[in-house]
Symmetry: C2
C-alpha cells in the first residue's frame, strides 16, 4: 500500500499519482497508467479510521464538493450538506471527494497527456464505466490507508457510483446513500446524452476530438449539449415557476434574441459551462452513464448485484418531480435491495424542484441525510 | 374575391399567389407581399360549400397530409385519418391542408425570394405568429370561395391554429377539433425550442441565416435540433418499449458509434429531417410557437379568446402520456371554453405513445374523431 499523509486540517487533498505498477484495470480490458486522481478532503481521519465518508459527484461535478471551485470561484456544489453543523460535518467525518476518472479536474481523462505519444489522449483515451470510476476511488481510499468507509454518498451519477460500490466493495462499506439515481440508463436517458454528444461532435472545432492539440475548443457544441441536459435537471413546474413566460425586456423583440428569461438562463448555463468543463470528458462520462446497467452486469437480476451487501445499511432517496431518474427507478433499487436481503430505508422527497433538488435548498433532504447518518454514526460508535 | 377553380377530382391544390394588393398583415406590424400559400385538397366541395375541412399541420408538417411527400416519397402524415372510410373521408368532405406561412413547402417563408433584393429573405423575413398562419389560411379559404368551414382540425401546433381560428374567425367555423395542444407555450416548451435554435445557429454553415445564398446548409445543427425535439414527441415508456437498452450489434463498441438502437434511431431522425426541412423555417416556426399565448393576447384571460365562439362545436383531445402538451393543458382549454359558454367535448386518450400519438396507430383517436365529426356532419346536413 502506498499510504499518503492524511491531512489533519480542515481541508486537504490534491492529486494522487499511482505508481506505474498500479494501473487502473478498466472494464473495457484496457489498462490505464499512469493513473492520477484529483481529490479533496474535509475534516480529519479519526484514530481507528472509521469516520471516512466518500462523496461521489454527478456528471459535471468534481472533487470541490465543499471548497471553492478553482475556475469559477463559486462555492462547492454540496456546500449546504458538507460543513460545520451540516449533515456531513467535517468535525465528525473525514470526507473525501474525488474527481472521477475520465474527468477534467485533475483525474486522468481524455485531456491528460498520453505517455505513449506525449500528446493529449483525446479520443484514444479508453472508454470508462461507472465501475471503473469506483475502482479508481477504491484505489485512492486504500492509498489513504482507509480499509472501510463509514459511508459512500452521492446523487445522480454519484448515486450510481454508490450502487456500484455496494456491488463491488460491500466489505469496505458501512453504509450507502443513493440519491436521485437509477440502476441503469433508460432509452430516454441515452437519447438525451446522444443529443449532447452529437452537438459536440457537430462543432467543427471539436476536430475529431483533437481540439486541444489544435488550439481550439468546441464551445458552441458543448454549450448546446449543456443546455439540452440542463432542461432535464429541472422539473417543468420549477421552470414554469422560475421563469414562466417572463420576458427579458418590455415586449417581444420580434427576432431571435433571448426574449424570454428562460432562454437567457439556458444560454447562460451553456456559456458558463464551457469555461469549466472539457468537451471530451463530457463525451466519455455521458458514455459511462449510458453503459451503466447494474442488473445487466449481474445476469439481468438487479438483486444479484447486492447479494454480498447484506451488512451495508442503505438509504435510497428520490425526488417526486425528478423526471430524469424518477422515483419509480429508486423503487426498483429498493425492491432489489429487499430481494437481496439488504437493509434499506427509502424516502421520496416531495419537491417541485426536479432532479437538481439534490444540491438545492431542500430541507427534507437535509433531514433525511442527517437522520440516516446520525443513527448509523451512533451504531458505528462515532462521536 | 379572387376565387380559384375548385378541384373536382380526388386531390388538388398547388400554390396560391395572392395579388400585390392583398398582402398578409402580420402581428409584428409588417406586411408580407407577395404572399404564396402552398396547399393540397382532397375530395370535392359540395354545392352549398358546407363540407370544407381545414387540416392544420404541426411544426415540421406540411400540406401533404394525405398525399405522397414530394421529397421523401413517404405517405402523407395523416394518411390514417384522411381517406376513404376513414374519419376524414374525401368522399364526404372537401379537405384542405395548407403549408403554414414561414414554412418551406411552397408557402412564403424565409427561403422565399425577397422581391426587394432578389435574394432569399433569410433573417430579413418578418417574424410570424400562429395568428399570422391562421390569417393566411383564412385568406386562402376565402380565395377558394368558401365562406365557412365545417371543421378545422389539427394536432400540436395544428391544434394551436385551431384555437386561434376559434378566437379570430368564429363566424367562419362550424366545429373545431384541437388535439394534443396547449393555449400557450410553457417555459419548458420554450427551453427545448431554444436548444434547437442554438444548435442551428451554432452551425458555421448557418452563416447568420444566409446559407442558401452561400450554397451551404446547416445540416448538422438542424439534425441536432431535430434530435432534441424528437425526444419530446415520444413518451419515456414508448422509448423504453421500442428501444430499451437494445444494442445495434452484439456487445458494446467501447466507442462513440451508435451502440444503442435508440441512438441510431435518433441519428436517423436528424439525418432524414434535413433532407426535407429548411433551417430558417425551423427557427421562424419554433419562434411562432414560443410567442403563442392565447390568453396573453386576450387580456390574460383565456376564456376571453373564445367569447365570440359560442356557436362553434369544440372537441378537445389529449394523450395521457404526452409530456410536451399535457392533458392538464388541454383541461385548461376546456375550462376556458366552458367559462366562455362554448360547447366542448373533451377526452383524454389513454396511450403510452406520447405526443406523437396523434399521427400514430391510435384507434381511440380515430373513434373520437369519427364520432365527433359524424354527429356534427348530421347536424350540418352533410350526406
Amino acid at each position: 500500500m502506498n499510504a499518503v499523509a492524511i491531512p489533519t486540517g480542515e481541508t486537504g487533498g490534491g492529486t494522487h499519482r499511482f505508481p506505474a505498477d498500479k494501473p487502473l484495470r478498466l472494464d473495457s480490458g484496457a489498462l490505464l497508467s499512469p493513473l492520477e486522481i484529483g481529490y479533496k478532503t474535509y475534516g480529519a481521519l479519526n484514530a481507528d479510521k472509521s469516520n471516512a465518508v466518500l462523496v461521489c459527484h454527478a456528471l459535471t461535478g468534481d472533487q470541490h464538493a465543499a471548497s471553492v471551485h478553482p475556475i469559477t470561484g463559486k462555492p462547492g456544489w454540496w456546500d449546504r450538506v458538507i460543513g460545520p453543523g451540516l449533515p456531513l460535518d467535517p468535525g465528525r467525518y473525514f470526507i473525501i471527494s474525488t474527481n472521477v476518472v475520465g474527468g477534467c479536474m485533475g483525474s486522468t481523462g481524455p485531456g491528460s497527456i498520453d505517455p505513449a505519444t506525449g500528446k493529449p489522449y483525446a479520443l484514444s483515451f479508453p472508454m470508462i464505466t461507472i465501475a471503473d470510476m469506483v475502482r479508481a476511488q477504491a484505489m485512492l481510499v486504500e492509498a489513504l490507508g482507509i480499509e472501510a468507509l463509514f459511508a459512500v454518498v452521492g446523487g445522480s451519477m454519484g448515486g450510481m457510483q454508490v450502487l456500484q460500490w455496494a456491488a463491488d466493495y460491500p466489505d469496505r462499506l458501512y453504509s450507502a446513500i443513493c440519491i436521485a439515481a437509477a440502476a441503469r440508463h433508460s432509452a430516454q436517458n441515452i437519447a438525451f446524452h446522444e443529443v449532447g454528444r452529437q452537438a459536440i461532435m457537430a462543432d467543427p472545432d471539436w476536430r475529431g476530438g483533437a481540439y486541444e492539440e489544435q488550439g481550439v475548443r468546441p464551445e458552441k457544441g458543448l454549450a448546446v449539449a449543456r443546455m439540452a441536459a440542463h432542461i432535464t435537471y429541472l422539473s417543468e413546474t420549477a421552470l414554469q415557476r422560475k421563469f414562466g413566460r417572463e420576458l427579458q425586456r418590455d415586449g417581444l423583440s420580434w427576432g431571435f434574441d433571448a426574449d424570454f428569461q428562460v432562454e437567457s438562463y439556458l444560454r447562460h448555463q451553456g456559456a458558463s459551462f464551457v469555461d469549466r468543463f472539457d468537451a471530451n470528458s463530457y463525451l466519455y462520462i455521458t458514455r459511462a452513464l449510458d453503459y451503466f446497467d447494474l442488473a445487466g452486469s449481474h445476469g439481468g437480476v438487479l438483486a444479484q448485484a447486492f447479494r454480498r451487501a447484506r451488512a451495508v445499511r442503505f438509504c435510497v432517496l428520490s425526488f417526486s418531480s425528478d423526471w430524469l431518474y424518477s422515483t419509480a427507478e429508486s423503487r426498483d433499487i429498493v425492491r432489489a435491495l429487499n430481494a437481496a436481503g439488504c437493509r434499506a430505508s427509502f424516502a421520496e422527497i416531495e419537491t417541485d424542484k426536479g432532479h437538481d433538488a439534490f444540491f438545492l435548498d431542500e430541507p427534507a433532504l437535509d433531514s433525511a441525510l442527517r437522520g440516516f447518518l446520525e443513527s448509523n454514526a451512533e451504531k458505528r460508535g462515532l462521536a
